[in-house]
Amino acid sequence: MTIDTLRLTAEEAKGLLERREISGAELFAAYAEREDDLHAYLYRCEDPGGDGIPIALKDIISTKGVPTTAGSKILESYVPVFDATVAARCKEHGLRLLGKTNTDEFAMGSSTENSAFGPTHNPWDPTRVPGGSGGGAAAAVSGGLAPWGLGSDTGGSIKQPSALCGNVGLRPTYGTVSRYGAVAFASSLDQIGPVAKNVRDCAYLYSIISGRDENDSTTVDVPAVEVPNAEDLKGLRIGLPKEMNDAEGIEPGVRDAVRKAIELAESLGASVEECSLPLSVDYGLACYYLVAPAEASSNLGRYDGVRYGLRSDGADFREMLMHTRHDGFGDEPKRRIMIGTYALSSGYYDAYYGKAQRVRTVIKREHDAAFEKYDLIVSPTSPTVAFELGAKTADPLAMYLNDLLTIPSCMAGLPGLNIPCGLSEGLPVGLQLVGPQFAENTLFRVAHALEQALAFDVVPERLR
């Protein structure tokens, strides 16, 4: 039988395998043999054998014996000797690695154009970006190159590419998924999460990767994951933060698609009310761009040419170190290392990093207060649909504004899920659902009901 990799969900693939309608080898080959004209992958793997569902992993996730570059020249030659906990858990469940997907260098970016190995193209329109930093995984899932994948999200790197590519992406509650083996960007924000064609696959993959890990002290036990079946939203209370739904820069087409999805939620029985998160939106982005670069400046210190990765020549350690980092890092990591080093330097710590961390507490409290009245809050995931390649590369600030709506909940450590809710100018629009800590099951239930009602076709129009 022919396998439609553009449409086949992981759950369906599992059924085909269990009923022996296809072999594991056939399934793997269906993805592996598809041409990667989107440049979704940095590295594609041979079929390791077995009959598990194939999976793509963002090249931030360490895979034993398989190159892991984090999209950076400085790690071009690096092959991990160990599996990230999430990679190991995938293996334990028989999932087979299709390859490592493209990412902005060290996950720093919103378009995957900061990859040292060239950009990924949006499956809906190859002249446009897939979002970032996890553009590779999102493009692979929507472009028929993988049934599902894992990304990493620091300020929107799962949710935003899912929005721009028209699939389902979950950034889980901070601490529910182990970060062990995920190349660190900003430790207090980084989370691994699933990218899938639908909500049930997303929930199933989350159930595989989540839970306490003795190798990551910040992980906790997680409530049992319920793969959703619900079709109505009776009794559900939805809050619409006005700052996130009326923010400057939200495209009219995005606004319309989101409004229709919200009306649909009401028709399914949800009560919808406007609410307000003024501080979270006003200060979220600014504080994020202090906290994340500060932690990054420390996390990226280990790329010193001594033990692995690139080493440039130098007369002594200091010179070798400087040449290595000069040659190995692209502009965006360099920019963030400089910002972060400054924000942590003595005399500035209190004014920058210290204050930004205190603002996070304020953002968390503001969200907590909202969740006393609402089960979840809803907004667009991205203010815009996918933009043209190169449109924002010259203006880092314009690029940073892409994350305006995804960042507040990241700063608060809260789970956020993107589902596609319609098209604008022929491109997918993402709806962001944010819940309180550990409310993943609520997100899955609501997203599943909406998904059924929206009946969004996840296959890019040009590929149908």
Partner: protein, 468 residues
């Protein structure tokens, strides 16, 4: 003008936990280069630290022994700097929320107690070891650097004192007492040669009677207590001479080289690092439970300082100090309890036993007591041999006690006469006033009698004969 030194100490003690501070690698001295390593202590991308619970408990225990307050909440921080032996480019340490703070160590002295304030005792990880490849073995002139990461990630307790010390001798005695405390708590070997105990010294001077704090210098690389004392004395003198010649002391770090007359500077204030401390986001804060702290407190026995005071009631302060800081006082108590004279036992332990290098724990105190009691009646050679055998599991004093010293003048006189006869020149010189030659004759007699003669009697008889 007279000057007063102000001295503060920073001591690092490696804990001998089974595993390293933030990974499961074995924490062991030695091993082939880079054999005790893993993704965490080599700082591979994505590897995360997990704090060693045992190390936290041991740091608390040491904090309690130093009379510190134990924090309800302690936080690990990152201390960022680039160095080949620091693979993450940050050391996980503690900063403004250490595990233990505001303690003190009371040190008995011959003139009463001296109390040294303990600013803090916190937990951190050790760096790896750079091996500078050069013929001299020194940093200066090295041509290449190799890194052995076996030591990287070893749990370290850093103890910082208040600047309460004013002379080199007190600093040295504090370090000795602290070492003994750590060893007795069984937290560390605290062996200076192995680097499992290391210390830095901050020194400044000021006009006596003033309470200002002037510019201080930091002395590093002193791997013995005597070097520490010597380095401090040298640095105090250097600073005084700078002030007296109208100069200013520069803030700098000095590298102590034992043989050299000067300590060459390692780095000056201008090069001082900005470590960009911030809370380690990969670890959660530590909240030591009250009952754990009390349990650990209950495990601490009578501390060395208290024992010195107690023993000094019986012996001199000096003897008590030597016994306790030498780790000999428990054996001494047992030997005394078994019937030996306290002073005699102390002398034997502090002077002769300690030279054998035998562990006090291996000694049967009852048998040693018999030797001490019979010391005067046993030939010197037999006594020495007995001491050297004290470590044997089945040691018995009996065969040595059977050997009797020759104290009978009638037996010794012929030997003495023979020796004097054989050395007429020396005898002449002695009679002319060269008193020191007495020892020569006594030594010859002891040798002739195979060490069995009673030295006191020989002494007496030689003098009597030469004086006639």
């Amino acid at each position: 003008m007279s000057w007063e030194a102000v001295i503060g100490l920073e001591i690092h003690v490696q804990l001998k936990t089974r595993t390293k501070m933030f990974c499961r690698c074995v924490n062991e001295f030695g091993g082939g280069p880079n054999t005790h390593t893993c993704p965490v202590c080599l700082a591979f991308p994505g590897a995360l630290p997990v704090a060693n619970k045992r190390a936290i408990e041991e740091c608390i225990k040491l904090g309690l022994a130093l009379d510190c307050e134990i924090a309800d909440r302690a936080v690990f921080h990152r201390k960022n700097y680039y160095y080949p032996d620091l693979p993450k480019a940050y050391q996980i340490s503690q900063y403004d929320e250490p595990l233990c703070a505001r303690g003190k160590l009371t040190m008995p002295t011959a003139d009463g107690d001296v109390t040294i304030g303990i600013t803090r005792a916190h937990l951190e990880e050790d760096a790896a070891k750079n091996v500078h490849v050069a013929s001299s073995g020194r940093i200066h002139g090295a041509t290449a650097t190799l890194v052995d990461f076996n030591r990287g990630g070893t749990p370290l307790v850093e103890i910082v004192t208040e600047p309460d010390i004013h002379d080199a001798e007190t600093a040295k005695r504090f370090l000795q007492l602290l070492r003994q405390t750590v060893v007795e708590l069984d937290l560390s070997d605290a062996e200076l040669e192995k680097g499992s105990m290391r210390f830095d010294v901050n020194v400044s001077v000021r006009p006596a009677g003033s309470d200002e704090l002037r510019t201080r210098t930091e002395l590093k690389n002193m791997n013995s207590f005597n070097f520490a004392a010597k380095g401090i004395e040298r640095e105090i003198a250097r600073q005084i001479s700078i002030y007296e010649s109208g100069g200013e002391v520069q803030q700098e770090t000095l590298h102590f080289v034992p043989g050299d007359e000067e300590s060459p500077p390692m780095r000056s204030k201008e090069e001082a690092q900005d470590y960009r401390y911030f809370p380690e986001p990969d670890l959660v804060p530590v909240h030591p439970p009250k009952d754990l702290v009390e349990k650990l407190r209950g495990e601490i026995g009578e501390l060395p300082g208290a024992r010195i005071k107690r023993i000094a009631d019986t012996l001199s302060f000096y003897d008590a100090d030597v016994l306790v800081t030498g780790g000999l006082d428990r054996l001494w108590s047992d030997v005394v309890a078994a019937g030996a004279d306290p002073k005699e036992a102390a002398n034997v332990l502090a002077n002769q036993f300690v030279a054998t290098g035998i562990s006090p724990d291996a000694v049967n105190a009852g048998e040693l007591a018999k030797l001490v009691v019979a010391r005067a009646e046993i030939p010197r050679a037999a006594f020495d041999e007995a001491l050297s055998k004290l470590g044997d599991a089945d040691f018995s004093a009996a065969p040595y006690l059977e050997q009797k010293v020759v104290a009978d003048a009638g037996e010794l006189d012929p030997v003495i006469d023979k020796i004097i006869e054989a050395n007429p020149a020396q005898a002449e010189q002695f009679r002319a006033g060269k008193e020191g030659l007495l020892g020569f004759f006594v030594g010859q007699v002891m040798k002739e009698t195979g060490g069995k003669a009673d030295p006191r009697v020989v002494n007496e008889r030689v003098r009597a004969k030469l004086d006639t």
